[in-house]
Symmetry: D3
Subunit: 260 residues, 6 copies
C-alpha cells in the first residue's frame, strides 16, 4: 500500500522513510473556522494538507496528521472568534501541541521538518512551539533537526496574483474566504464549495486597529472579508500548482544542505 500520509503508514514503513531514506516530514497547521456561507470550516487545514500531499509527490516526504484546530480567529484576518463554528485553541495550547509533536519527530530521528501554516492567526504560536521544541531537544542532546516554517501563501508570485486579480490585487489582508481560498477550494475540494451561497458583499473596511471585545458589526454577516466573485477552479489549480512547485523547490534546496 503506497501512501505518503504518516497516519496510514506502519511504524516500520515510517522509520525506513525517515531514517534510511532521510525523507522530510511535512506538518500542516490549520484551523476550524468559519469561511463564509460557501466554504467549509475545515478550509484552513484542508488546503495546507492538500499542498503537503502535492509536495510529497514531488520530493520524498511524509505528511503528518494536520493540526485541525488553530488559534482564535481575529476580525481583521478571519472575521473574528465570535462566529459559531469557529473552534479555536488558546495560544498557549497551540504552542504546546506544536512543541510536543516536533519533540517526538526529533526523538524519532527526524532531521528535516517543514511546518506549513494555513491559518494566519497561528503564526507566532507555531513559531514559539518550534522554539520550545528545539530548546527541549537541545537539552536531550539533539541538535540536528532543521525546521523550515512558512505560510503557504507567501509562495504566491506576483505574476500569479496578476492573473488571479485582473483588476489589481487588493492585498492578502482581506483574503479570507475570498478569491484565493475559494479558487483553491474549487480545485482541491470542489464538492465542498457551496458556490450558490457565495454572496457578493463589498469588502470589509477596517480601521488600523482592533477593538476588544470585537466590534462584530465591522465584519460582514457572512464572515467573508472581500468578494470571492472572481474565483475559479482554474485559478485554484494555478495557485495550487505554483505552491507545490515552489515549496518543493525550496525544501529541496534547504534540505540538500542538511544532507551535506
Amino acid at each position: 500500500m503506497q501512501t505518503n500520509m504518516m497516519a496510514e503508514m506502519t511504524w516500520v514503513e515510517y522509520l525506513r522513510r525517515l531514517q534510511t531514506e532521510q525523507q522530510t516530514v511535512l506538518l500542516p497547521v490549520g484551523a476550524l473556522e468559519q469561511h463564509g456561507y460557501h466554504l467549509p470550516m475545515g478550509t484552513d487545514h484542508f488546503l495546507p494538507t492538500a499542498i503537503c500531499k502535492g509536495v510529497a509527490e514531488r520530493i520524498p516526504a511524509i505528511v503528518a496528521p494536520p493540526i485541525a484546530y488553530g488559534y482564535k480567529s481575529q476580525p481583521r484576518m478571519g472575521g473574528g472568534n465570535h462566529f459559531p463554528g469557529t473552534t479555536s485553541l488558546d495560544g498557549g495550547t497551540l504552542t504546546l501541541v506544536v512543541r510536543d509533536i516536533i519533540k517526538e519527530l526529533g526523538r524519532h530521528g527526524g532531521k528535516k521538518l517543514a511546518v506549513m501554516n494555513g491559518h494566519c492567526e497561528n503564526l507566532f504560536f507555531a513559531i514559539e512551539g518550534i522554539d520550545l521544541a528545539l530548546r527541549d531537544l537541545r537539552f536531550e542532546g539533539i541538535t540536528d533537526l532543521k525546521i523550515v516554517r512558512f505560510d503557504y501563501w507567501d509562495f504566491t508570485t506576483p505574476a500569479t496574483l496578476d492573473k488571479c486579480f485582473p483588476d489589481g490585487f487588493p492585498g492578502f489582508a482581506l483574503e479570507h474566504a475570498a478569491v484565493l481560498e475559494t479558487s483553491m477550494g474549487l480545485h482541491v475540494f470542489p464538492d465542498l464549495v457551496r458556490i450558490d451561497s457565495l454572496v457578493d458583499d463589498p469588502a470589509a473596511v477596517f480601521p488600523p486597529y482592533d477593538v476588544h471585545p470585537a466590534r462584530t458589526e465591522w465584519v460582514p454577516p457572512s464572515g467573508v472579508l472581500s468578494p470571492a466573485k472572481g474565483a475559479s477552479a482554474e485559478k485554484g489549480k494555478m495557485l495550487f500548482d505554483e505552491y507545490v512547485d515552489r515549496i518543493s523547490e525550496a525544501l529541496r534546496k534547504e534540505f540538500v544542505e542538511t544532507d551535506k
Copy 2:
C-alpha cells in the same frame, strides 16, 4: 452537499444543526501510535472517527475533527512510547486541547457532546479536559452542556467477545493491535491493513507493575501485545455494527432527557 463532518460544513449549516435541530456533537479522541507491522499508526483515531460517522448516520449528529495526537503510549497498554512513529503529547497538552475545544462548543450553544476515546492512555487527560472546560463554562454562565464520555470498547458485549474469541477472551489489557483492532481495521480501512506483515508472536507477559524508564525488552519487537491471528473483516463488521448500535442508543437515551 450532505455531510456529517463538522469540518466539511459551512458555519451556517453547523449552526442550524447545532442550535435549531439540537444535534449532538461527537468528538473522537485518538492517537498516532505504532500498531505493529500490519496496522497503520492512525488506527486509534481512524477507528473512533469511523464509529462516530456511523453513529451520526443513526442519530442526528455532527462529527468534529478528531484529535489525532494522544497521550504517551504505555508499555502495558500500547507498547510504550519508545517506538519511532509514536507521536504523543504531554498529558497537560492533551488536557488543554480537550478543554479548549469543549469550551468553544459550549460557546456555540452546544448542549449535547459525546467524547469518544480510541486510545486507552488518553482516559484521564480527557476527563480532566472535560472538567476544566465545564468549570470555565460555568464561569461564563453556561451550565447546560451535557457531556457523555467513553472508551468505545466498553460497549462490547460478552456475546460478541465470545464470537471474536472462540477460545476465550484474554481481556482488554493486551488488545493492542491484536484481534479486535485488526478486525475493525479489516472492516473500516482494509486497504491500510498489511495483513501479510501480521506476525504470530506470543502474547506479551507483563508483571503487575511498570518500570520507568521503560523495560523495552518486555514488549515484542513488532509492538503487538497479543496475537492478531484470529482477526477477520467479519468480526470487524460485527464489532463495528455493535458499537454504532449501542452507542447510538446510549446517546439517544442520555440526550433525550436533556431535551426535556
Copy 3:
C-alpha cells in the same frame, strides 16, 4: 531511634541509607476521599502507607511522606467528586507534585524508587509526573534512577480473591469502600472503621460511559459502590500480608538488577 519513615530520619541517617546502603525509597500516593459511612476519608493514603511500612520491614527501604491529596474522584471509581469531604487536586497539580518529589530524590542520589498508588484516579497523572521527572533529570545528566510504579491491588492473586469472595469476585471496578478496602481497614486501622455504620446497599450499576456533570443519582447515597458486608480483619490481614510479600519480592527482583 529506629524508623523507616523518611520524615522521622535526620538527613544524615537518610543519606547513609540512600547512598551507602543503596536502599529503595517508597512513595505512597493516595487521596482524601469519601469512603462511605464506615471508612475514614484518608483510606487511600493510609493503606498504601501501611503497605509501604510493611515492605520497608522486609527489604531495606525508606518511606517518603505520602501524597495525601489525589486526583478528582470519578463516579464509576470512587463515587464522584461531588461528595463533601473529598478533597482533590487538579490533574496538572498532582503531576507536578509527583514530578518535583522525584526530581529531588534523583538529586539526592537515589537510584531505586517505588511509587505505590492507592487511589485509582491518580494513575495517569502519576505516570506523567514520573515521565516529566525523568526528563528533567536527564537534562541534569542523571540517568540512573529506576522507578517501579504500581497500583497495590494489582498484586492480589486469584487465590486470595477466591477466599475474599466465596461467591465470586465481582471485579475491581466497584471495589470502592467495599470488601477489600474495608477488610484492609479492619486490619490496618481498626479503630477508624465505623463498622456499625456499614450500610448494605446493593452494588451500584453504571452504564459503560460517564456523564459530565456527574449523574450523582447513579451513586448510592453512602458513596459505597458495592456491599462491604463480607469484610473481615482476617481477610484484611491476608490481603495485606500478600501485598507486602509480593511487592517486596518484586522490588527485590527489579532492583537487584539495578545493583548489578
Copy 4:
C-alpha cells in the same frame, strides 16, 4: 471514634462538623527539610500539625492532612536546598496545591479556614495559592470563605522569648533547627530528637544578600544555623502552650465575627 483529624473522619462526620457545627478547618503547611544532625526532616510539618491538633482541642476544629512538602530551602533561612534529604516543590507547584485544597474546602461549604505555616520559605507561595483559590471561588459564586493565615512563630510573645533566651534573643532569622525548634521537638516528638547528635557550632554569619548558585560554604555542615544548646522540653512546652492559646484565641475572635 473521636478524632479531629479530617483524614480519620468519615465524610458524614466531617460534613456535620463543617456545615452544621460551623467548625473551623486548620491546614498545616510544612516541609521535608534537613534540620541538623538532631531533628527529623519532618520537623516543619510535625510542629504545625501538632499545634493544629492542640488548637482543635480548644476550639471546635478539623485538622486537614498537612502539606508535607514545601518550597525550596534557602541558605539564610533553612540552610539551603543542596542538602540531601531536603525534598522541595517548585514555587508554582506549592501554590497550586494550596489553591486546589482551598477550592475544595470552599466547595464543601467551609466558611472558616486557618492556614498555619511551619516553613518560612512557603510564605508567599501559600499566599498566592490562597489568592488564586479565592479568585476561582468568586467565579463559582462562593464569597463567604474567610481565611486566616500565619506563620506560627509570629505568635511568640517577648516574655516567652526572654525565658527561652536568657542571654537575649538573637532573632528569628537564624532559628533553623536551633533553640526554638529543638525545644518544641523535645516537647512534641521527644523520641525523634537525637539529642546526642546536637552539635555546638557557632551561629552562621551571612551577608545581607543571597548568592545563586548557593555559597554552601556559608552554611554549617550540620545544617543548623545557630546553636541549639539551650533547648529543653520545658521551653518547648511553654512555646507550644503559648501557640495553642494565642492562636485559638485569635481564631475564635476572627471567626466569631464571621458567624455574626
Copy 5:
C-alpha cells in the same frame, strides 16, 4: 506636579483621572532588542512610550509603565534572537504580563484602554493577553472595559511614506532599525542615535520562509535589515506628529462611543 505618567502619579491622582474624569489608559508594549550599530536597544519601547506621551497631551490620558521586554526577535522582522543584547520573553510570559496588567486596570474601574505595540513580534502574544484578561474580567462580572490595540506604524499614511521614501517605500517588512525607526529616533531621542555608526549595508534578502535554528548568515552583521541612510529628524518629526494626531483622533472616536 503635572504628569501623565502613571508611575509618577499618586494613587489618588490616578483614581480621580481614571474614575472621575474617565481618562483613557495607554499601555506601551515594546522590547529590548538589537537595533543595529546606531540605535539603542530600547528603541521599541522608547518610541511607543514617546508616542503615548504625545497622545496623552492631546486627549486626557494616563501612560502606564511600558512593558520593556518583548517576544523573541525573528530574523525576518528584527534580525533574530541570536544577537547578544536582545533580551526576550517566552511567548507565554508576555501573554501573562499583558493579561495581569489589564486585569488590574479593570479592577481599578478603567473603561478605556489602548495597547500600543512597538515590536512586531509581540502582536499575537499581546492579543492573547488581552483575550485572557477580558475572559477573567468577565468572570469577575466586569464587562465594560473596552480595549483598542494597534501597532503604531499602521497609522502611517501613504502620503507620509511618499515623503519618507522619495524612491518608493520598500514595505514595512524590512523596516527594522531602518529609515522609519532611525528618523523617529533622531526626533525623539537624538542623543541616543549613534549616527556615525550607521552602516550602509544593502537590504537583507529573505526567502518566503523561516529556518529554525535561525540561518544567521541571512541577517546583515549589523542587525539592520535595510539601509537607514535617508533617515532624518525632520522625517521623524513628521512621522511622530502624524502618529500622535491620528492615534489621538482614533481613540477619541472609539472611546466617545463608550462614554455614551
Copy 6:
C-alpha cells in the same frame, strides 16, 4: 554617548562591556503600587533603579530596564492589593519574567548579575525565577553565571537607622511610604513627592496574621503604614549614599572571586 542603561546602549556597546570588560549587570525589580497621598506609585521601581545607577557609577556595571510591575501588595507590607492604582502580577508571572530575562543574560555570556529588589512582596517569586533560570541554563550547558540577590534595605546600617529615627527605629515591617522611602524620594525624585499631602496618621496596628479577603479596615485610608513625618532629603541622601557604597562594595567583593 555615555550611559550605563542597557536600553540606551547599542548591542555592540553592551557586548563589549559584558564580554570584553566583564561588567556586572544590575536588574532592578520593583512594583507599581500605592505609596500614600504623597509618593508616586512608581516608588518601588524608581528607588532601586536609582540605586543601581549609583552603583554603576562606582563599579563598571550595566543597568537593565527595571521590572516595573511586581507581586500583589500585602496589607501588612504595602497596604494591600485592593487600592486602585496598585497594579500587580500573579506570582507565577513575575517568576517567569525574572526567569526569562536571566536566561537571556546567560545566553549573552553574562557571568555576573545582581538582582536588586525594591518591593518586599517580590522576594520569593524573584528567588524562584532565579532558580528556574539557573536550571534551564544548566540544561544549556551554561554554569558560570553568578547571581547576587538582595532587598536594598538590608544594606542599612544600625548607625544610619539611629540617625533616621532619633526616637528609635520601629522596624522595617511598617516602613511602607514612611520615613525611609519618603526620605529617599525627597533625595532621588523630589519633584514627585507631594510633601503637602503627607498625612500624619498613627502607625497601622496589625495582628500577627493575615486575613483573606483582606481586612481593609486595618489599613489607614492613605495607604501609609507608619508616619512619614520625620522624612527629609538629608536622610534620603544619607541612606542612598550608604546603599550605593555598601552594595558596590559587596558586589565588588563577590564578583572579584568570580574573576579569579
